[in-house]
Symmetry: C2
């Protein structure tokens, strides 16, 4: 599909790993200097592609995934066997139309699906990094993604799109590499992690670190896995991804396979059973240390702070076209956070449209079938594609 091309100072050596898709080793000649000051050399980055890059290399859309997402956007997941996390949005004739666009998704730095992270091997020791892996930031994730684009010979993205932590990366892309982004769509995102956001993440981290099987982060050394702590972390987080309305509608106080409560601590209620399942299924596909690193990167995210406390400064003179999207029932990154981004963009006279989608699905609405959301995203991309000189859709979307 794409012909890898050597970017400046970036190794193009592509390594076959056990996961399907692509994996490239970057930073061999010029290491990636992280925000913490550490240098990352010869580190793997895994990515997946859908659709075909045009001759002008002008139709690439980068999807940035969320905390527990990965690069398997629109295909059966190699670990869980479930459909890709955005299979309803990415494909022929879908809003992210693979007949028109070349869709790219990169496992974030710190992740556990092939990219460098605490569970990957430190080339200097031949052992997993564990907690010796440097703490990374959202900007570091984006810099590593830019190195992948160098490797692929994509100078400029048609669009960068993502929800939740993906939206943070979108904002960082537009700020760090405005000349490499034509359009940017931060969805259900924030420019600054709030105290409550940090608090929920800290609960999750404490749950993991409280699990004796975490072994100070060295569980791989002892053949252990802090799956109980990680499951609790996931359960707590999962509540924040939904809305009270959604939980009431989906479960209410309905019992799980019983007519009466049992006066015990089994999962009497459907919502308990559901949450336990969320916890258990998560630990099968996610690394506990990765969870620590990625939540930390989100906690550290504060774009205004890096620009003298003025968010607008992050986007000064930008020519990127923005479409900011939020959901009414999202209480993790509520609409007020998106409005703050829009206000900052307006302050620098950016080209920005803003849509608050009415939905009861909470933060996770961006993953679900939300007709209004699809219309807004398709409409914005169609308009942007016309401006970019890309051909229209083959079929109506």
């Amino acid at each position: 599909m794409m012909t890898p091309r050597n970017g400046g100072g970036v190794s193009a050596a592509e390594q076959i790993v056990s996961l399907p898709g692509h994996c490239v080793h970057l930073g061999t000649h010029h290491p990636l200097i992280l925000d913490c000051g550490a240098a990352l050399s010869a580190f793997p980055v895994a990515y997946q592609t859908y659709g075909t890059l045009n001759a002008a290399r002008s139709n690439a859309i980068l999807i940035c995934h969320a905390l527990t997402g990965d690069q398997f956007v629109a295909e059966t997941h190699p670990v869980t066997g479930k459909p890709g996390w955005w299979a309803n949005m990415v494909g022929p004739g879908l809003p992210l139309d693979t007949d028109r666009y070349c869709i790219l998704c990169i496992n974030v730095l710190g992740g556990c699906m092939g990219s460098a992270g605490p569970d990957s091997v430190n080339p200097d020791t031949g052992e997993p990094w564990g907690l010796s892996f440097p703490v990374i930031t959202i900007a570091d994730m984006v810099r590593a993604q830019a190195m992948v684009l160098d490797h692929l010979g994509i100078d400029r993205l048609f669009a960068v799109i993502g929800g939740s932590m993906g939206g943070m990366q979108v904002l960082e892309w537009a700020s760090l590499y405005p000349h490499r982004v034509f359009a940017a769509v931060p969805i259900a995102a924030t420019a600054q992690h709030s105290a409550q956001n940090i608090a929920f993440h800290e609960v999750g981290r404490q749950a993991i670190m409280a699990d004796p099987d975490w072994c100070g982060g060295d569980y791989w050394r002892y053949g252990k896995n802090p799956h109980r702590g990680l499951a609790v972390a996931r359960m707590a987080a999962h509540i924040t991804y939904l809305s009270e309305h959604k939980l009431t509608e989906k479960f209410g106080r309905r019992l799980q396979g019983r007519a009466e409560v049992t006066y015990g601590f089994d999962a009497d209620f459907q919502v308990e059973s559901y949450l336990r399942h969320q916890g258990i299924s998560f630990v099968e596909r996610f690394d506990a240390n990765s969870y620590l690193y990625i939540t930390r990167a989100m906690d550290y995210f504060d774009m205004a702070a890096r620009h003298n406390g003025v968010l607008a400064n992050a986007f000064r003179d930008t020519r990127v076209r923005f479409c900011v999207i939020s959901f009414t029932s999202d209480w993790l990154y509520p609409t007020a956070e998106s409005r703050r981004i829009v206000k900052a963009l307006n302050a620098v006279a950016a080209d920005v449209s803003f849509a608050e989608i009415s939905s009861n699905n909470g933060h996770d609405a961006f993953l679900l079938d939300e007709p209004e959301f699809r219309r807004v995203l398709s409409g914005f991309l169609d308009g942007a594609a016309a401006h970019r000189g890309l051909p229209p859709a083959k079929h109506g979307t």
Copy 2:
């Protein structure tokens, strides 16, 4: 202060325990039949009193405490050394005026401050109950409290007041014993635990049960304590007691004793440090199994379900005077829940007043110094006292 009097079939044998205050053994002759069907015999109930019962025994106010509260309402706590949890409300000249009223607070059944619960001794075995303690309900807690009143010779309470789980008990008091309650004040409460409420409790229980030191509930047998799991449970719950606004105002993204983030997993942020402290200090005073039992009682709480799905049926023909109070920023038991109670009370033409207090302090507002809340509570109690024929306050409140 009070002269214990034998109630019908209730032992008045009062036992000195290591905790200050009162402890009575109840159910010796007539056991308490619990909702789960089990019978509880010769079980201890600990309580505390402030103020003097008048000759007519008509000025008693029962305060029902919340999930992690206890009977030490208005004095230095014997374990933590901190002021009583409602010291700002209970005392001479305060809204719950100990110059006028005899204030009583009883450690709930299932609790761990002297009343029967999983950490108390099963008289049949001479060992702690652990998980063999029967699962109790809010109604069971109230029935045990009624037995204490029998023991004390108090036929009718002037008022029963409580916030959060205390408010659930207030509603249950008014429903089970309408003839024993003159006035009822449920604060920041609900008549039915929601799916989201259950979900947060389940996270806490899973955190406790995931701790290997929980030992299937038998930690006392092995000299262990699941303090890490309990701390995580407390941290998760504590977030729900505050509001996003409050967390932002109190902590924002301010760092804890450092000028820059450390790129590590220490408590860089004040909110992390605060939450960790909440977790650590909680385990010093609370029993993990008690946490399981009490959260379960709250999850099971659904007054309408016990009355053919119609909440109003719980209060039919009631003559109790109600004052329902909620707080604008409470997202654990939001105002909508209080409105549902008020609507049910209106449907049976009950005497009910309702106040939604404007506050940024979230659910915990009922514990804090909220001037409007104080005024509403004082005003309601003054009016009710006049109707009850109690003398007015000695000094203006």
